[in-house]
């Protein structure tokens, strides 16, 4: 700062120097403060394809293919859903709609390459199409064009048809978005059709709910009128295991998504919490105090063949399988005081502490089996300005990075099946709600707004 101020001061006669230097220094100081505030937002980024320039994709609104009166509402749903899916994917850079030409295509012959592949849009890719309702049937045609390759531009051409409804329009947008992401993201399986299971108290009781990954289609699953917590969907998407307060205490319960009702699961006795599926769907890990203190147990998916995995005195809770290998379980233990993240082999051996301080809970294994995400108050104790934030740790090196910095209590991270997104619970808006973000902490979106919504769990596919 001083060095940059010096040459400026030479240009001025001596009698002006004092006040001029002072004011220049003041301006520089303000600039420095602004810059440091800006750079404070520049968090560490992690993930795949770092440093790779994203494809510039233009997505003009789909056009009506006929004059059916239902088209307008369905187009709004389709266009908004498609745009949001592509935006939060983080795979592409969406070209702002303000750069688009006035005439946008709805059919391949309407594509004017020169209006798209040069600035201002300067798009590399163009997704376009049309939507129309005829005789109650909704038909969507969509194309993905490489507009820099005018000789052979088509990468993708899709047609979807279903009974006309808002849900159908949304599903078609999800499917088309997943096709685009798969092709432009180097084979990434899209998540647009995935589900998020969570706890909501909006009915007055904590019940298990489900929603589409983008927050739409929120619906109540359980109607127990008690307290239901910690939903975890099975890898095949057929069942949701959760913990609920029953007459005999906290028990693991099972909800069938095929039958749309709870199905029987044996009562274990004691306090039974936080069930977790193995990656092959054949086993459940959970915490049970059936023998005294809360310890980690593993059972078959039916609840039989129960094995105790931990014997430490401290409470052991929140197990989660390494879904890639099924050979490891991460969990939370208070055996040394404040809760810390531990890992062990699936047979209970080789228990290792992963976090070295603070209050660390809610581990969740990334689909690649290499990273754990968890909630951590690193500096914990009286007078410490500790906030509960989400962290990502490389299992092999125990290196970690902080993912959330935006205030509130952040907890219960859960990975999307493509390993690129994390859904979590945050109180940053004033009360606990469910948010998603890319695994590097960007593209943060709030999904729930009604009541308190907690403990999200992302489906496996």
């Amino acid at each position: 700062m001083d060095e940059s101020a010096r040459p400026t001061s030479r240009r001025w006669p001596g009698r002006f120097r004092g006040p001029v230097i002072a004011s220049v220094l003041l301006i520089l100081l303000v600039l420095c403060l602004l810059l440091s505030a800006l750079s404070a937002q520049d968090w560490v980024k992690t993930g795949t394809s770092l440093g790779v320039e994203k494809v510039r994709l233009a997505v003009p609104d789909f056009k009506p293919s006929n004059n059916d009166p239902q088209n307008a509402a369905l187009l709004t749903t389709f266009n908004n859903t498609l745009w949001n899916d592509l935006d939060v994917s983080g795979v592409v850079e969406l070209v702002s709609k303000s750069f688009y030409p006035l005439q946008v295509p709805g059919q391949p012959p309407e594509v004017n390459f020169l209006m798209w592949n040069v600035p201002p849009p300067n798009a590399a890719m163009l997704a376009f199409g049309n939507l129309g309702v005829a005789a109650g049937q909704l038909t969507v045609q969509g194309w993905l064009y490489d507009v820099k390759n005018t000789q052979s531009p088509q990468i993708l051409g899709k047609q979807y048809q279903d009974t006309a409804s808002d849900a159908a329009a949304r599903m078609m947008a999800h499917k088309f978005a997943d096709e685009i992401i798969f092709r432009l993201g180097g084979g990434i399986t899209g998540i647009a059709e995935t589900q998020i299971y969570f706890v909501s108290d909006r009915t007055g009781h904590k019940e298990i709910w489900a929603m589409d990954y983008d927050g739409s289609n929120q619906r109540q699953l359980t109607h127990l009128g008690s307290i239901a917590l910690a939903p975890r969907v099975s890898p095949d998407g057929s069942r949701v295991a959760f913990s609920s307060l029953t007459k005999s205490g906290w028990e693991i319960m099972m909800y069938s998504l095929d039958l749309n009702r709870t199905v029987s699961f044996p009562h274990m006795g004691g306090t039974n919490l936080s069930p977790a599926w193995s990656g092959d769907g054949t086993k459940l890990a959970f915490s049970s105090s059936r023998a005294g203190t809360p310890e980690i147990y593993v059972s078959d998916a039916s609840g039989g063949n129960l094995h105790r995995m931990t014997t430490a005195k401290g409470p052991d809770v929140s197990p989660v399988w390494n879904r890639k290998t099924n050979a490891q379980i991460a969990f939370v233990s208070g055996r040394t005081g404040l809760p810390q993240i531990y890992t062990m082999e699936a047979d209970g051996t080789n228990q290792q502490r992963m976090t070295d301080q603070g209050y660390a809970v809610s581990p969740n294994w990334a689909p690649n089996g290499q990273f754990l995400s968890f909630a951590w108050v690193r500096k914990y104790g009286p007078g410490e300005p500790g906030a509960s934030d989400l962290y990502l740790m490389d299992i092999a090196s125990k290196q970690w990075v902080q993912l959330t910095h935006d205030g509130g209590r952040n907890d219960f991270p859960s990975w999307s099946p493509d390993g690129r997104h994390i859904v979590f619970q945050s109180s940053r808006s004033g009360k606990e709600e469910i948010w998603t973000m890319l695994a590097d902490g960007t593209k943060v979106q709030q999904l729930t707004f009604t009541g308190r919504n907690t403990q999200p769990n992302w489906s496996w596919k």
Partner: protein, 245 residues
């Protein structure tokens, strides 16, 4: 000469006396004029039946008058010359009737005595239930943050609980483990479970039969106090003993 003058004096005196007496006697003599005919005087009577009531009951006030043009009862106001009315004063009342007529006025009174109803019979002496005794004698046990061991200052509560529970061996009860709002849902449920177990262990090791005790953790799901300060958090970090019916 002297004698002559005395005679004249006597004569004058007698004449004067006679004159005077004559005049006076003549004045008293005429008969009095006949008096005007007197109007009949009003009559009035008032009675109340019954003459004694209990608060809330009513009595009937009945009155008769005659020769009266203007009849009123204090506290009621102008009334018909003859009539009756139901009254239900809250206090003893003297009904004062005034009947005015051209022949004068007449008054009459009737007193209604109001007695307080006898107090309801006292409720039967409450029987002290085991549940009442439990509530009066059993103390909750409070914990430090993130801890589930019994604090030294909570031993007196444990001793009081043990004394009562051993003296009332028929009582079964539940120990609820509670936590403050800080920290995560699942871990707090496990911590609450440990707190409930810690209280159970302290009681059973002092002779309370374990079969009488159920434990449940509520974690931070059912706080006693919802403010975010240490005083409130301390209220929520407890083993709460609940009588089991």
């Amino acid at each position: 000469m002297k004698l002559q003058s005395i005679k004249w004096s006597l004569l004058i005196a007698i004449l004067g006396t006679l004159l005077t007496l004559g005049a006076c006697g003549k004045k008293a003599a005429p008969p009095p004029p006949p008096p005007p005919p007197a109007p009949p005087a009003p009559t009035a009577s008032i009675s109340v039946s019954p003459s004694s009531i209990q608060t809330g009951q009513s009595a009937t006030l009945t009155w008769q008058t005659s020769n009266a043009t203007d009849v009123s009862i204090d506290g009621i106001g102008a009334v018909q010359p003859n009539g009756s009315q139901s009254v239900s004063p809250t206090d003893s009342t003297t009904y004062h009737l005034t009947a005015k007529g051209t022949g004068g006025s007449q008054e009459a009174t009737a007193r209604l005595t109001v007695t307080q109803p006898p107090p309801p019979p006292p409720p039967p002496a409450p029987t002290v239930t085991d549940e009442d005794l439990f509530g009066q004698n059993v103390k909750d046990v409070y914990f430090d943050y993130d801890k589930s061991d019994i604090r030294a200052d909570q031993q007196s509560s444990i001793q009081a609980d043990v004394a009562f529970l051993n003296a009332h061996a028929n009582i079964n009860f539940t120990i609820e483990g509670h936590c403050d709002e800080r920290g995560s849902t699942d871990y707090n449920l496990a911590l609450g479970d440990k707190r409930a177990s810690a209280v159970k262990d302290a009681l059973t090791s002092a002779g309370v039969n374990a079969s009488r005790i159920k434990t449940i953790s509520y974690g931070k799901e059912k706080p006693f106090c919802t403010e975010s300060n240490e005083a409130c958090w301390q209220q929520n970090r407890r083993g709460h003993l609940v009588y089991q019916k």
